[in-house]
């Protein structure tokens, strides 16, 4: 074990204000769009107004004559050099990847796809010149509905493939040897409940739009980009464009949020690199919000067919999951892996005997999907928590009682699940008890009964989500077994300077999470140096050369542990020097509070700062000792981390207007040990907001021609603080047993847990009307229709206007074509 166990006045556990906030708050940030280089040119990108069409001609001659225009390029100019946007997660050997040009060459496959790029002396001139580009498109039939896309002899998104199915990924507990054959549990079921749930398409909507600056130099390039993944981007850019990796430097300066939306190698990054190299000039591209909404990758968009079986007494036996996952028009970096990540989470905290998961990845003429906060796990949690409520209804059991009967008891940890994962620790009973207390559950149930009895037009609904998730991506061997193209380790190095100040270099590239503060707290405890003496360096492949970046709630549980391991090495090096200085045996020294002393004679010690200077001067070091305390460590986790918790939602549903208003939201999360409670709470609050947003507000809607009709924030509704309640949050602590800090991930937990709690509450409120489901987002109109028509049916009514589709399975009457051809 490490020095954690005997740490002095600990930094860990303190609600330190974030180091990185001062410069954010006073506007001293360096966003990519703030970067200006001498001679820099500006790009504007022309995007397809068609969802599916052949490009019959492009005339850029007039655009080239516009003032200030330096060059105009189309896909034809880069057809031989642009390669394909990489997909690093071929989930099956047979997976079909049709290839993804950054600039469309002969065909466009979704609205918003890049078709031409103008290079001009300023961004205004570049934008103006876009209007002078003349393109003829020959429209092709549009593929929007996933199930229709899989019918034989239908229109193909990519004519050179044989079907719109990219892959079918299967897991079955009988075959895997992790549980009973699913067919046995289905056959022997005493009770069977089936449901279809729709995971609507969401748009990550990070605050800072994407922006890229590329400066060519000799053989290589330096790229600044608003990315979550500078290290992955460097490697992938090198492979995609055939640039030697050591000639590529990627810098992620201040990055304003990502939520998975910047876990990507984007067409725009490739286009900037191609243009900069072609012209030998630095270039910048910054997207508008409208471009971002239609061309940055989307999330979710799945149809979930779920079957649960149980005994009459409520013991669950089997879970059968069939997904259709909309890939959109192309496969991006980890598109196919996103639904597959959920495969191991549908069984959640419950003890199933048999389990099957089948996922079909489908191409449509929509923006590609990829990672969005939670990535596969919110979908899984939603489905299991919704169907547990449905099963409780079928059995006429209290939904919490059904959960209690089936969840893993705290004395059963470590517990190996029906899909083969081993949960290391947890206490579902404790978190649930605390959450029930926090929200005042029994009192709310009494009030609910009273309001039902007097037919109050505003009904109270109570929703539960008892969730777990797997995060901290990831053990490299597990990723290998899932055919992911890289490992899941993280790197850190520590440099102890002559004056005793410390530089911590991390490969986990922060974009708003607070790594600088949290890493400083960890190192302050590990090395016994003051919090303010620590500088955290990240986000530049030159100064932080090794890393796998930030996503999947991995930074602390993988990257933070790498920091601990690097600090351990510093302490061991320092111990040898201290022993030499104190003329003592290294084994007789103890290290506490930043000072080595001979056991039994405190006060006679040497501080880490004194040792740092001795190492720097190197006048008198032990024979063979290198004059440095610096260290480097790479940590590969043995297991995922499994945060869990109980989220409870009390919602007022106005049955006359359909409006659902959250009255109380309480959650108790078990994220193991906590480094900085303030940061952890911030992650929970933000996560809740995004999960609640899926339940009640957000939805990307396409019309029958494949136009994104929710193309601005007027129509794509993001809730703000004024739309959300004050959250009641609490914690239980079941330390992780698989890492030395006992920590679990927290970045996605709020998003993963909250969505089903809210929807369960809405459906619970409508129980007197026999309503079984309300499709997300639970808009007032959908709720009103559910009330008006009762029992399910209308609850899935398409929210959008005639001629548009709210998801791939809805009706597609022809649209009026408004908005088509607009330059955006």
């Amino acid at each position: 074990m490490t020095a954690v166990e005997n740490r002095p006045a600990a930094e860990i556990g303190q609600s330190r204000l974030r180091k990185e906030d001062a410069h954010l708050l006073i506007g001293r940030t360096t966003w990519t769009d703030n970067i200006t280089l001498p001679g820099m040119l500006h790009l504007a990108i022309l995007r397809s107004p068609m969802a599916h069409a052949t490009i019959t001609s492009i005339d850029v001659s007039a655009a080239k004559q516009r003032p200030g225009v330096v060059a105009v390029f189309t896909g034809q100019d880069f057809a031989e050099t642009q390669g394909s946007i990489p997909c690093a997660w071929p989930v099956t050997p047979e997976m079909v990847n049709p290839g993804h040009p950054s600039l469309a060459v002969t065909q466009v496959n979704h609205v918003g796809e890049a078709v031409a790029v103008v290079v001009a002396r300023d961004k205004y001139l570049a934008q103006d010149a876009l209007e002078a580009i003349d393109i003829d498109y020959a429209p092709l039939p549009v593929v929007l509905d996933m199930e229709a896309a899989l019918v034989a002899d239908t229109t193909l998104v990519h004519g050179h493939t044989s079907s719109n199915r990219s892959f079918t990924w299967t897991f079955e507990s009988g075959a895997a040897g992790t549980g009973a054959p699913i067919e046995d549990t289905l056959r022997d079921a005493e009770v069977t409940v089936r449901r279809r749930f729709i995971q609507q398409r969401l748009i990550p909507s990070f605050m800072e739009p994407r922006s890229t600056v590329v400066s060519p130099n000799g053989e290589g390039v330096t790229m600044w980009s608003a990315t979550q993944v500078p290290h992955i981007l460097r490697t992938m850019l090198a492979l995609t464009l055939n640039i030697p990796e050591h000639k590529v430097r990627v810098i992620a300066p201040d990055v304003g949020g990502g939520f998975g939306g910047k876990l990507q190698v984007t067409p725009e990054e490739v286009i900037c690199t191609l243009v900069a190299r072609k012209l030998g000039k630095p270039v910048k591209y910054t997207e508008s919000r409208s471009e971002s909404l239609m061309s940055a990758h989307h999330g979710r968009d799945q149809i979930q067919d779920i079957t649960i079986t149980a005994k009459r007494d409520g013991t669950v036996t089997g879970l059968d999951v069939h997904l259709f996952a909309d890939m959109g028009a192309y496969l991006r970096l980890v598109s196919p892996g996103i639904p597959v990540l959920g495969a191991f989470m549908y069984n959640s905290i419950y003890k199933f005997a048999g389990y099957r998961f089948v996922c079909e990845g489908v191409f449509t003429n929509k923006t590609p999907t990829d990672a969005y906060r939670g990535a596969g796990r919110p979908e899984a949690t939603f489905a299991i928590e919704r169907i547990m409520d449905a099963l409780a209804g079928e059995l006429d059991m209290d939904p919490m009682e059904l959960r209690r009967k089936n969840w893993i008891k705290h004395e059963e940890f470590p517990f190996t699940t029906v899909c083969g994962l081993t949960y290391d620790s947890g206490n579902y009973e404790a978190a649930t008890a605390k959450a029930l207390e926090l929200i005042g559950w029994d009192e709310l149930r009494r009030e609910q009964a009273e309001r039902r009895a007097r037919r109050d037009p505003v009904q109270l609904g109570l929703g539960i989500s008892t969730f777990t998730e797997m995060c901290g991506l990831a053990p490299s061997r597990v990723l290998g077994s899932l055919d992911y193209g890289a490992g899941g380790w993280e790197n850190a190095s520590i440099r102890v300077l002559a004056t005793g100040k410390v530089e911590v270099v991390t490969g986990a590239s922060a974009h708003g999470q607070g790594h600088e503060t949290a890493w400083s707290q960890i190192v302050a405890d590990q090395l016994g140096v003051p919090f303010d003496d620590i500088e955290v360096i990240h986000g530049d492949t030159q100064s932080s050369p090794k890393g796998l970046d930030t996503y999947g709630s991995r930074s602390l549980v993988v990257g933070g542990i790498a920091v601990v391991k690097a600090a351990d090495k510093v302490v061991e090096k320092a111990r040898a020097i201290a022993a030499h200085m104190l003329e003592a045996n290294p084994d007789d020294l103890e290290f506490a509070g930043g000072s080595f002393s001979v056991k039994g004679s405190p006060g006679s010690g040497k501080t880490i700062q004194e040792i740092a200077f001795a190492a720097f001067a190197a006048h008198d070091l032990p024979d063979g000792m290198e004059p440095s305390l610096d260290s480097d460590a790479t940590f590969d986790p043995e297991n995922f981390s499994f945060p869990h918790g109980t989220h409870l939602c009390a919602i007022d549903v106005d049955t006359e207007t359909g409006r659902a208003t959250i009255r109380k939201y309480a959650c108790v999360d078990d994220i193991g040990e906590v480094i900085n409670p303030l940061i952890a709470d911030g992650q929970i609050h933000g996560g809740l907001a995004q999960g609640i947003a899926q339940a009640l507000y957000e939805e990307a809607v396409y019309d029958a021609d494949g136009n994104l009709t929710t193309g601005t924030f007027v129509d794509y509704l993001l809730p703000s603080a004024s739309d959300l309640p004050s959250f009641l949050t609490g914690r239980t602590v079941s330390p992780s047993t698989t890492n030395p800090l006992g920590v679990k991930g927290v970045g996605e937990a709020g998003t993963i847990a909250s969505t089903p709690a809210v929807v369960n509450a809405v459906v619970d409120a409508l129980k007197p009307w026999g309503v079984q489901d309300v499709q997300m987002p639970c808009t007032p109109e959908r709720i009103w229709r559910a009330v008006a028509e009762g029992v399910g049916g209308a609850a899935t009514a398409d929210r959008s206007a005639e001629g548009t589709v709210a998801y791939g399975g809805a009706s597609t009457a022809s649209s009026d074509g408004s908005g088509e051809g607009e330059q955006l």
């Binding site: 739309d723 007032p780 109109e781």
Partner: protein, 285 residues
């Protein structure tokens, strides 16, 4: 998003503004805060060649009392309207609705007159002007004239303002004793456009409703008055049942839009519920 390029003029007085606007002809647009116009320009949905910014016209700002009315300069910002004691006292309905417009930043830049001239049927303030029987003062090449609110809103984003004409002030009659008002706005998130809005003004007398006015937001291509409801309520008993019954007539003569924010049948239903609630709240029932 970057607008196409345009010329910009900021005249110092009303006469100059009218002249510049007239010279600009069809391709000139008035900039009166810009909270609706600028998004349209940035999305390149409109390509005016000249913007005439009224922001320098002090004479169009401010709120004053004028006998039985208050007069609000067209370039008075929403924030100024909200903070006005005169508005709060004599046109509380306007204050209540203005508080729901956009966010704080929008309310500091957007203007009352700009909102009325833009005439978005999902906007709240045109409904308020209509409900309060406002008189709209305009000045153009032909001199000043007064347009009643009932004749001002002609169609979607279309008003009775003639080419070269500028809305200068809005005269709102004071509601006398016995009147009370309420605005019910229904939207999905704060800072959004109304899916449906209902404004109610009610004068009670001896346990009955002596007079009622009901205005509707986003139930057609212009703000509307629900005259059938008004007629049914006038002289009726001030009871929940009467109000509920009258509210059912609210969709008469409306043409609710059918769009992403709501289907027409849902809006029709909402209008009935919100009318009942607005009238009950205004009448204190």
């Amino acid at each position: 998003m970057i607008p196409a390029s345009f010329e910009y003029e900021r005249p110092a007085n009303l006469d100059a503004a009218v002249r510049v606007l007239q010279d600009g002809g069809e391709d000139a647009k008035v900039l009166a805060g810009g909270q609706s116009l600028l998004p349209v320009l940035r999305l390149r949905l409109s390509y005016p060649e000249l913007l005439v910014d009224l922001g320098g016209l002090a004479e169009l700002r401010g709120i004053r009392e004028d006998g039985d009315a208050i007069v609000i300069g067209s370039m008075t910002t929403h924030d100024e309207v909200l903070k006005s004691e005169l508005v709060r006292q004599h046109a509380p309905l306007l204050a209540q609705a203005t508080a729901t417009v956009g966010d704080r930043q929008v309310r500091h830049l957007g203007t009352f007159g700009g909102s009325l001239s833009h005439a978005d049927p999902a906007g709240d303030l045109p409904t308020i002007a209509l409900t309060l029987d406002a008189q709209l003062h305009a000045t153009g090449p032909g001199g000043p004239r007064v347009i009643p609110a009932s004749e001002f809103f002609l169609d979607y984003l279309t008003t009775a303002l003639r080419p070269g004409e500028i809305l200068t002030a809005i005269r709102i009659p004071k509601l006398g004793a016995g009147w009370s008002t309420h605005y019910e706005k229904f939207d999905r998130v704060a800072q959004a456009w109304s899916i449906v809005g209902v404004a109610a003004a009610v004068r009670r007398s001896n346990g009955s409703i002596a007079e009622a006015r009901v205005g509707l937001t986003n139930m057609g291509t212009t703000p509307l008055r629900a005259s059938l409801v008004e007629d049914e309520l006038s002289g009726a008993a001030a009871s929940a049942a009467t109000v509920a019954s009258a509210s059912r007539s609210v969709t008469e003569g409306t043409h609710a839009p059918n769009d992403l924010a709501g289907h027409a049948d849902y809006r029709n239903h909402l209008a009935q519920v919100l009318t009942r609630r607005a009238v009950l709240a205004a009448a204190g029932i």
